[in-house]
Amino acid sequence: MSHEQFLNLENILFTITMFLYLFSMIGYVFFFALKKEMAGKLAGYAALAGFILHTAALIVRGIGAGRLPMTNQYEFATSFAWGICLCFLVFLWKYKFRALGTFVMPVIFIIIGYAAMQSREVRDLMPALRSNWLAIHVSSAIVSYGAFGVSFAVSLMYLIRTRMAKDSFWDEHIPDQKKLDMISYRAVSLGFLFLTFVIVTGAIWAERAWGSYWSWDPKETWSLITWIIYAIYLHLRISRGWKDKNAAVFAVVGFICVIFTYIGVNTWLPGIHSYA
């Protein structure tokens, strides 16, 4: 197969993935709003099928481009959505509560929708990006952002749960607030560890490529801001009275920082990371 054929195939897989994620999102909304068990099941299958095709799309693009698909806005956005979906499926498998999808799938769909609006052109890498650190740095960012995406959804669910009337359907499908808080904490822990890894590997790479491991570039600065926000979240949890609702609010704020670090910085604060 030629590069063009690979990229055409990627295009088809990406489009099907988008529709499956859309279907999953709608299914989860029906499941949650109309309490339709079957809709939730179908939504879960659609998410899984979407994830498999999404993985295939990324692999095909990687083969077509002859490198890892993680170097421009489109590639990172689609990988970001993939990372959230991966973390969502892992958390779904581990904690077994379907309602999580109602809050995670819209995030995934928005991000993959953002990816669809970016240029899908494949370009050769500039010298600064030709490094083994690219794969380590960006793939850890994908896991980190994915975990933060899940923590955001769980925290949102937590905040909504506090306002929901008692209902046996929701009681069955949404864990109690204590467990939601714990799941959010687990997701933040995973995301925080990987974000630290992202910053450390980024610093090592920057030292090799730019001669300085820290330059206060807007992307670096906002990664640090995000890191500090989640560090505060983790510290506040230890303080009395800051678990639960307040922690959930902080997890939501943290994810807003993540989104700003990714999209906002690229849009409004250009720097040496302008290609990221």
């Binding site: 610093a203 206060w216 500090i228």
Partner: protein
Amino acid sequence: MKKHLRFFFSMKFAIVILLVLVGACTVGSVIPQGNTMAWYAQNYSERVAGAVMLFGLDDVFHSPWFVILTLVLCGNLLGCNLLHLPQLIRRMKKGFQPDPDTMVAVSVIGRTQNAAEVFHSLGFRRIEERKTKDGSAFLYSVKNKAGIWGAWICHLGMLVVIIGFGLGQAFKTEDTVYGVTGQTKPVGETRYALTIDDFTVDLREDDTVSQYLSTLTMTDTVTGESQSGQTSVNAPLTLFGRRLYQNSTGWAAETVIEKNGEEIQSQILCAGEYMPIEDFPDLVVTLAAFYPDYQPDEKGHPQTASGRILNPAYLYRIYYREQVLGMNVLLGDEVITVEDYTIRFRNPQSYTLIQVKRDPFTPIAAIGGALVLVGLILAFYLRTAELWAVQALDGSWQLGGRSKKGGAEFEEAVGEKCLLYREVIE
């Protein structure tokens, strides 16, 4: 005093500092850094520009208040770690001891017939056997003791990163050397000179750059000793303990001055460089830009169609007593004549720009980063837990346990394992 000191070292104060840091970083990333008062006045207003300059917001990350804030954070981290160290040592030495009579009083979190199986399935390997006061068999085990050091190591790592970075900022040296193949230039004020043995720009078929490669020799001008090697983007070279980075590139050309048909002066000028004419210093020539494949746009603005030297053109400027005398584009072999002097450009070639850096504190920051990661792994994934079991009269075991982090999850896991082995007791 002690109270104030305790507050200074407290987590509450740390959170306050972190929040202020978030604010400072936000300001530092939103306000473009390193500009002049005039720039801020033009882009904001006189008032805002005044405030920016007054509070050092034009260079937030090097301003005294930011440095002080970072030092306060260091003090907090150091104090916090010093305060906790004795507690942690005490806990390691004496904290994890089986205390049957106290422990059996803690609520039961599960029952099983096969306690050893539950212990092992939960990762508790070394089981200590004791007796309670009333003679019942008692089992105790602890796992992931190292986990209690997680936060401490993480804080230590942060402290080491900040110290390494701070020392690096204070003592690192940084010089820039640029030139074309064959040139030798001094490395700043140091005793070293750098010779550019070769410089290659690898172009792909579509004219995009694949790699920049510089072969360099560094010579100690005092001892005459030399070291050589090649540097490219992402592959810095270390010579005489200094890191040499392939930073950027540009165009240069040999600038030739002739008088009465005779060449009287020639010098390689990198784009942007100036050259006064030696026997008429009031006249200065500069190579403003070079276009390797000149093709002006529709409005006549100079631009290049590719990165290959196919149709070279030189944008020059000539100054007489610092006033611009003329400016234009010279194609190929075209010349300019000013009074008795003829000026031409030839041998266009790429120049390389090498950054020569020395930061002996980078390894310290790297160690700090590694410590932060190790600390986080210990804190999040080596959760210290204690599990004990006391045998009831019917032979079954009642399990109890505690885990400071993720206690509910731990209890759930114990409950699940007990359920797994429940058939034995039912």
